[in-house]
Amino acid sequence: MAQNEQKVKEPLFHIAKRSSIVWWKAWLIRLAVILVALMISGLVSFLLTKENPLEIYSVIISGAFGTERRIWNLMQNLAMLLCISIAITPAFKMRFWNIGAEGQVLVGGLASALCMILFGDKLSNPLLILVMVITSILAGAIWALIPAIFRARWNTNETLFTLMMNYIAIQLVAFFTYKFSVPKGSGQVGIINRTTKAGWLPVLGNQEYLLNILIVLIVTIGMFVYLKFSKHGYEITVVGESQNTARYIGISVKKVIIRTMLISGALCGIAGLLLVAGTDHTISRDTVAGRGFTAIMVSWLAKFDPIFMILTAFLVAFLDKGAAEVSTQFGLNRSFSDIIMGIIIFFIIGSEFFIQYTVKFRRKEEA
């Protein structure tokens, strides 16, 4: 209408949800953001060390890939991080905020360690390892099951519940490490069964980490198949996306929550087993070293896709190793890598906004 000539002040632009974005555009945005983040990290490093930024980048790369030993270390770190990320993924896909992986892995590791200590000289090695596998899986699963039951039955907030479970696990480990400390009272258990190597996972082809890496690879592919091709995986997606739809087609939401958390916890238990029996051969409250939390970022950044998770876990493991090398080379504190990682992940988190939303400018429409 022509008579509508009031001066209408509408905002110049507004934010709207994108209905879709071409996949390559999304990845282009992510890539660009990672590059910007790397530049900022370089700048921060430069400010702190006054070294040539290019020099810093090359140290990062050599820190991760410099020697064969470093590459294996990187692979091992990548494998452990990936394993935990994979473990929590089904829960997250179901929108169950399991931030208790730290604890679930730790009790899994604790179960392994206790078996090694208690049965190390009583059982034959294959039998011992079998017992360890079973107990760690059970321990992890139970640790995850407790919050799951309360969530399914009474809708108890799982974020806070699983968070608290972490610290109970840590104190439990502290308790046992004092109980079985070597030497007595030191608060450390030291390398368990150093001479007999009872309960140590076998070494494949002279590469001490190879078995771990292979197991994690199998777990990753298994999870990919489970989520994508199994009926359970399908139910997880439906429950996560819309509980109403789950009800509509007759999926029992409670059952899916409990079953999925059992699987998630069991895999965390396996990660604990690999850390204790396959890598460290000891246990302490720092065995998991925050991987349970880092894994959440890894899984989330990969959009809960196990195959992409190899990539995001690699990014994180690589940055961690590389930045660690920077700190040793330039005499900085080891925590330098946490800062760099923080900056880069902040950028990636922020970039999702530009993938999901679009800025629309208003155009005056003439009626």
């Binding site: 209408m1 008579q3 509508n4 009031q6 209408v8 002040k9 509408e10 209905s19 879709s20 091709f229 199994s230 009926k231 359970h232 995986g233 399908y234 997606t237 439906v238 996306e241 819309s242 109403n244 739809t245 009800r247 509509y248 087609i249 007759g250 009626a367």
Partner: protein, 521 residues
């Protein structure tokens, strides 16, 4: 009313208001006015644009064109705050209240009064307002402890507290019991006598007649007319409201091999708050027939279908007469999975397409297999059959999609619905329930859906069709069951009934004559 006209200037006047949402013209040059000391009803069917029009006065939407005058001065209302500036307040159908706050806290929320914040003082003011108009309210009670009617009282006081002189109520009686409605009306009359202008959106004719001074009728976004309540009656209003009969070119075959398939008896359901949603509903759905269900939105249609599908736990009887054997299965109290395990093939197209019927973030194939994914004993999914079924649906129903792997939420409304209806029909049902299957669809998609329903009928399926457009219901159904406030007010023959008849039934006038083959005229 004696004090109706303050110097002859209406409290609020709308001139040629239009508003378009995408393809839909929600308001097409609507004009109306309301005076101080007057209750004005806005009457119209669902989708006639009543709420849209009122939202433009309340500052929720902004009109595409047209003018608004408050007390004779032209005003621009861009936000609820602007509306309050002109003393306009709206009580929405869905309450905007914070559950853990007290009534008073909700009432004063967002007010930026200068001076000290003093809850006691505010409570006094609330009590004062309540006393003035005869509300019953405890200002320090928490919202979550309140009944629906008390919550509504809070909303009304909230508006009055802000000094509103023009009150708009969007279907205020939809959620109330008859006693509560009487109380509300008493309060509204007192406010009118106090000189306030009151606009009430409704589609219940008896309420219009008993409460309002004048009625403005809208039909499909267009202004039909304004009449004085004293100079009209329910039949005339119904005629204005439903408009002229439009003949739709929907084919309707004579039902063949009609046998009872689903027998519902005395079905009742209570909500969490304890209000009765379904009150003893009884009907029979026959194979080879389309049973239309008409009623004002929110009369219990959704709950009825969900109860039959096993999603809600209702009381009463639901018996299924198996087509092959003569066996009768009782379905009451069973879950969807138990019903399916009995071999009963229900298909259900719910009102919420994405969010209940479909998962927006899954592709078409995965959505197509929602019903069937669990078939067989394998741990793994079989996507082969769903994939070929998807291809078939895409070509048969002409679903416009880049690929079968496209996420459902990226499809347009019509295509989403085709996926949903297509999947439900492909399950080869014996009973097909559809709720508002053409809502938001264009003409072509709508006709495609009607055609599908007709085919199911020919195949001997018992089709239950919940609709809102009376023309469509009359043209498509064989029988029409009308429900009002959770009760069946009549089951009529669709071939011989008129829109007016159904409109009257919808507004709660149960018609006693069971012989429905003779029209009321």
């Amino acid at each position: 009313m004696d004090n109706a006209h303050k110097g002859g200037v209406p409290a609020l006047q709308l001139q040629n208001i239009s508003k378009r949402f995408g393809e839909v013209l929600a308001n097409d040059h609507v004009s109306m006015s309301v005076d101080h000391g007057e209750i004005m009803s806005i009457l119209g069917e669902n989708g006639s644009g009543k709420t849209t029009l009122m939202n433009m006065i309340a500052g929720i939407y902004f009109p595409d064109s047209g003018k608004i005058f408050a007390d004779g001065n032209e005003v621009v209302i861009r936000s609820p705050k602007d509306a309050f500036k002109y003393r306009i307040g709206m009580i929405h159908q869905h309450f905007k209240l914070v559950d853990v706050f007290t009534a008073t806290e909700n009432i004063i929320l967002g007010l930026e009064d200068n001076g000290k914040y003093n809850v006691k003082q505010c409570e006094e003011r609330v009590k004062e307002i309540a006393g003035q108009y005869g509300f019953e309210i405890d200002p320090s009670r928490k919202i979550y402890e309140m009944s629906v009617s008390e919550k509504q009282t809070v909303e009304i006081i909230k508006v009055l507290y802000r000094g509103a002189d023009i009150l708009i109520l969007d279907e205020p009686t939809a959620v109330l019991t008859p006693q509560e409605i009487e109380k509300l009306f008493a309060v509204l009359r007192r406010m009118r006598d106090d000189g306030k202008a009151i606009i009430i959106i409704t589609h219940k004719l008896n309420e219009v007649m008993s409460l309002s001074d004048r009625v403005t009728v809208l039909c499909k976004g267009k202004y039909v007319g304004t009449v004085k309540t004293s100079e009209t009656d329910e039949a005339k209003l119904t005629e204005m409201m439903v408009g002229k009969k439009i003949s739709l070119d929907i084919e309707r075959t004579e039902p063949k091999n009609v046998v009872p398939r689903l027998n519902v008896k005395d079905l009742s359901l209570c909500s969490h708050e304890g209000t009765e949603i379904l009150k003893g509903i009884s009907f029979t759905a026959n194979a080879g027939e389309i049973l239309g269900i008409a009623g004002i939105a929110g009369s219990g249609q959704r709950e009825l279908l969900e109860s039959i599908a096993g999603l809600l736990k209702a009381e009463g009887r639901i018996d299924f007469m198996s087509p092959g054997s003569k066996k009768t299965e009782s379905l009451i109290g069973k879950t969807p999975r138990q019903i399916r395990n009995l071999g009963v093939k229900f298909s259900f197209v719910p009102e919420d397409r994405i969010g209940m019927g479909l998962v927006g973030n899954m592709d078409i194939v995965d959505n197509v297999m929602l019903r069937s994914y669990n078939n067989g004993s394998s741990l793994f999914l079989n996507r082969k059959e769903p994939r070929s079924m998807t291809d078939r649906l895409i070509s048969e129903l002409e679903i416009a999609t880049p690929s079968p792997k496209t996420l459902v939420r990226r499809l347009s409304g019509g295509n989403v619905q085709k996926v949903l209806v297509g999947r439900e029909i492909a399950a080869d049902p014996t009973v097909l329930m559809v709720a508002y299957p053409v809502r938001g669809l264009d003409i072509n998609s709508s006709f495609a859906i009607y055609h599908l329903l007709n085919q199911q009928k020919k195949n001997g399926v018992a089709v239950i069709f919940v609709g809102e457009d009376l023309d469509v219901l009359l043209a498509l159904s064989d029988r029409i069951m009308v429900i009002s406030s959770g009760k069946v007010t009549g089951i009529v023959d669709a071939r011989t009934s008129t829109k007016e008849q159904i409109g009257l039934l919808m507004t709660g006038n149960a018609h006693e004559k069971e012989d429905s083959s003779h029209g009321a005229k």
